[in-house]
Symmetry: C2
Subunit: 281 residues, 2 copies
């Protein structure tokens, strides 16, 4: 294979020149491939969709973690749903104040294959505060009696194993296991092409019906369809802009390649067409 | 041809399924094609590079015009260099306060072909305040005795006819013909892939050496390489954030699909890796 091609829509293709096809595996849940490429370094795909690559994984992982962490400085117990590559956990382990990180990933093979072939994101998984649980995230939040300060839903698209993580039942249980001042973050698809835009609206409608504060923020992720990717921020207490203290995040002295205090604020400044699509729901 | 493909880099391809190839022409300056597509509607290319399409041209044109217009409410005389599709002029004509718009486009055929096949952007060109000048922008700014409140450099990439519009000589002459409180805006390439990132740094270095205020801002433009596109804002007087009054732009009641007051502020919030690349110069 000389090129890996992803159909962003039936009428738009994104192609990456491949140096080497490193691994191919049918897990109990999905098709998993790892490639090395000339432009993006190594990357892996699930059911033919690029999940993360060495060139820009930092954007997604910094934005999904540092945005909530900068809002509540008392976050001690964190639940990550999905996120099998470990990138979200890697960013979380940078905070000394976090005491426990439970990562619930349905597909153990994603973690193990990343630990072998995609190690840029797996460096935090051996941190003693991290517990790996290989089970269904939907069932986990339904049954657990633990209370979390932060839940990060680092899911695939709502097709295949990721589908339940976009359901009303799932969000309702997230709300149940969140502390009174807890924050729920989810990968929130994209506003530009129709398929992702439809899922963006569906997810927002459900989350908005459950949480008094439900905002959407954005990042430039060039290798996801359209490059305009969204995250959801939901909370019973905190507002992501009104309760943001730029001085605090600066004082932490985190070394980030994308996230900073201005980016935090700017990421919630949605273009009119995105605002309007979200208002419709 | 079933697909139009643009090489974003030698190792990354972006492909658009074509409905119809509407026009093909070798102008005195470049190769010009117009297509109709399933996903993006009509679009046109110059020397194989997509310039504008019906689905997202509004993002580029709103961001290149409303950003400076919201900073100085006394802009009366505007110079547009390039911008042959007319989209920048269309946005400018929405301001009653503007008295004259000189559009200097080297290639008359781009304007004429857009007026026939890509009319979404050409609606402002018949406004009585608009003067079309089909000549070299570099020579124009060297020779004109007019003074402008705003110059918009709506150029192609710095290869072929656009090359001179990234030169020190050009920027120096822009400064000369700008009023004391004038603003210079230029399309500023992109930070993500190496070719555009190199040009971004080159342009910023030159502009920064000439103007006391030289900032860079960004927009999500999914059909340009990486989807992360930049503009430059330079002035002898105005700062794009410190001198921004959100209330004013809201009171104008402009109907925009992308731009708004929050987007204005957020667009200057550059990720660390972009900030650092610009600092290096």
């Amino acid at each position: 294979m000389e090129w890996f091609t992803e159909n962003w829509t039936p009428n738009i293709k994104f192609s990456v020149r491949i140096k080497e096809h490193l691994h191919s595996e049918t897990t109990p849940f999905q098709q998993l491939e790892v490639y090395d490429s000339f432009e993006l370094g190594r990357f892996f795909t699930l059911d033919g969709i690029m999940m993360a690559n060495e060139k820009d994984e930092f954007i997604y992982h910094e934005m999904i973690v540092h945005t909530p962490m900068s809002i509540n400085q008392n976050i001690k117990h964190v639940l990550v749903i999905g996120g099998g590559d470990g990138g979200s956990v890697r960013e979380l382990t940078k905070y000394q104040t976090i005491e426990s990180i439970d990562m619930v990933e349905i597909d153990e093979r994603v973690v193990r294959v990343c630990q072998e072939y995609f190690t840029i994101t797996t460096t935090g998984l051996n941190d003693p505060r991290v517990s790996l649980k290989f089970e269904d995230g939907l069932a986990y939040v339904k049954n657990t009696q633990k209370v979390y300060d932060l839940i990060i839903v680092d899911s695939t698209d709502p097709i295949g194993p990721g589908e339940g993580l976009f359901s009303m039942e799932f969000y309702t249980n997230c709300k149940r296991v969140l502390a009174e001042d807890g924050i729920l973050i989810n990968q929130h698809e994209s506003p530009y092409f129709e398929k992702e835009s439809t899922e963006m609206k569906r997810a927002h409608k459900k989350i908005k019906s459950l949480f008094p504060i439900a905002e959407v923020y954005q990042a430039f992720i060039p290798t996801y369809p359209s490059g305009h990717w969204l995250f959801g921020f939901a909370s019973k207490k905190y507002h992501p802009i009104k309760d943001f203290k730029k001085a605090h995040i600066t004082s932490l002295g985190l070394e980030t390649k994308y996230y900073n205090g201005d980016v935090h604020q700017g990421s919630f400044a949605l273009p009119n067409y995105v605002r309007n699509a979200l208002k419709e729901v």
